[in-house]
């Protein structure tokens, strides 16, 4: 089973996202910031990183950049999931190593359709 690491400083968002991703057939791990996410990646590299951009200690963009330099980190599908919806910001996030971007608020259909086009389902 593929592993998705859900990273958000909001416990509520993490739980909602984790439930959606579980229902899509993924194993799920959670982390509350980028630093803890990188620690988790060092132990077990996920297939997908679903990560907020704004978090204490280490934000999502810096986390993605660091991940890409780790062994195996280049293969991880990085999906940013953030409140920011400014096109310039989104473009910068993609250039920093994101494969997709979800704007909050989101629902299960949005996550499912994004995972589908990333060829992560079935």
């Amino acid at each position: 089973m593929k592993l998705c690491l859900v990273v958000d400083d909001s416990r509520v968002i993490r739980r909602v996202a984790a439930k959606i991703v579980q229902d899509l057939g993924f194993d799920v791990e959670e982390a509350e910031n980028g630093r803890k996410a990188l620690n988790a990646c060092a132990i077990r590299m996920p297939d997908v990183l679903l990560i907020d951009t704004e978090m204490p200690e280490l934000g999502g963009i810096a986390t993605a950049q660091a991940l890409r330099k780790m062994p195996g980190g280049d293969k991880v599908v990085v999906v940013f999931c953030a409140t920011e919806n400014d096109p310039h910001f989104i473009r910068a996030a993609l250039e920093a190593g994101g494969n997709e971007y979800i704007m909050k608020p989101f629902d299960s259909e949005i996550v499912r359709s994004k995972f589908l086009l990333l060829d992560l389902l079935g």
């Binding site: 919806n85 993609l94 989101f106 259909e109 949005i110 589908l116 086009l117």
Partner: protein
């Protein structure tokens, strides 16, 4: 809801749109028509039905419009659009190299996302189509859906359902209320209100027809009739995309499955060699 009221409203919907409503769908009828009740200041659903019975054509059109499902999404189900981009478009560039014209019909286009997904796919393959004319026509019974499709302004939820983020950045401009599709894609599609229960032949012949998640609302006879019309309007080497939950078994012998799971069909008269060229790639 009084049984008489349901029977009358359900019959009206079937005659005008082909939509089949069984008695257990009474809640759906009431739910979708309540905005019409409020808009016309009727005191109840019964009053609305009484007014519909008088034959008020404008009111009947409003009610039918309100009943139409408007659920759609950009690149819905994704894989059929990958097939369109990677298999159908290259085939067309070869088969239509003399005319340099191809036509796509999106039947039951609702608020336009599907037709614009086709347009974006063709625009992204622009190198193959330099000097070509691509005509994309979107039709739907609902005038409000067609107005929304022509307007091409979508909410943040709409643009996230199925649309790759890079396509959003490339093809839309953000404003205070949502996202406006840019004119380079918008101008590729022509929309018009059209009832698929009438003949579609006046719209011309098409190389590709998408009629996805439309037949699921029709009864068997209406499905048979619609597929006959589609068969006549599709080029001999044309491709039909249906919804992924709309099998043709027992409904029409006019088509051969290219991929049943994805709802992709070719016309039955198509040569087997050409049919094999439409196969879905193993890995997208």
């Amino acid at each position: 809801m009084a049984p008489d009221d349901f029977e009358y409203a359900a019959r009206l919907m079937k005659e005008r749109s082909g939509l089949v409503l069984t008695r257990d769908k009474g809640y759906l009828l009431e739910n979708r028509l309540m905005p019409v009740v409020r808009q016309h200041k009727f005191k109840s659903f019964h009053e609305l039905v009484a007014a519909l019975r008088t034959g008020d054509a404008a009111l009947q059109s409003s009610a039918v419009d309100a009943m139409m499902a408007k659920d759609t999404a950009f690149f819905r189900d994704w894989k059929p659009f990958v097939h369109f981009a990677k298999v159908v478009l290259p085939n067309i560039t070869h088969a239509r190299r003399e005319k340099k014209l191809f036509r796509v019909l999106c039947a039951g286009v609702s608020t336009g996302q599907e037709a614009y997904s086709v347009a974006m796919t063709i625009r992204d393959a622009a190198q193959q189509f330099s000097g070509w004319r691509a005509e994309i026509i979107g039709v739907d019974l609902s005038p409000t859906a067609i107005a929304a499709a022509s307007n091409a302004h979508y909410t943040q939820f709409d643009v996230q359902r199925g649309l790759p983020i890079k396509s959003l950045l490339r093809s839309f401009t953000k404003d205070d209320a949502g996202w406006q599709l840019n004119s380079d894609v918008r101008d590729m599609v022509k929309f018009q209100t059209w009832n698929l229960l009438t003949d579609i032949y006046p719209l011309g012949r098409f190389d590709v027809i998408l009629c996805r998640n439309v037949m699921v609302y029709l009864d068997l006879q209406a499905k048979i009739d619609l597929l006959q019309k589609i068969s006549r309007s599709l080029a001999d080497d044309g491709v039909l995309y249906l919804g992924t939950q709309e099998p043709l078994t027992g409904v029409s012998a006019a088509f051969r499955p290219v991929n049943r799971d994805l709802g992709i069909y070719a016309v039955h008269r198509l040569d087997k060699v050409v049919l094999s060229s439409l196969a879905v790639p193993q890995k997208h």
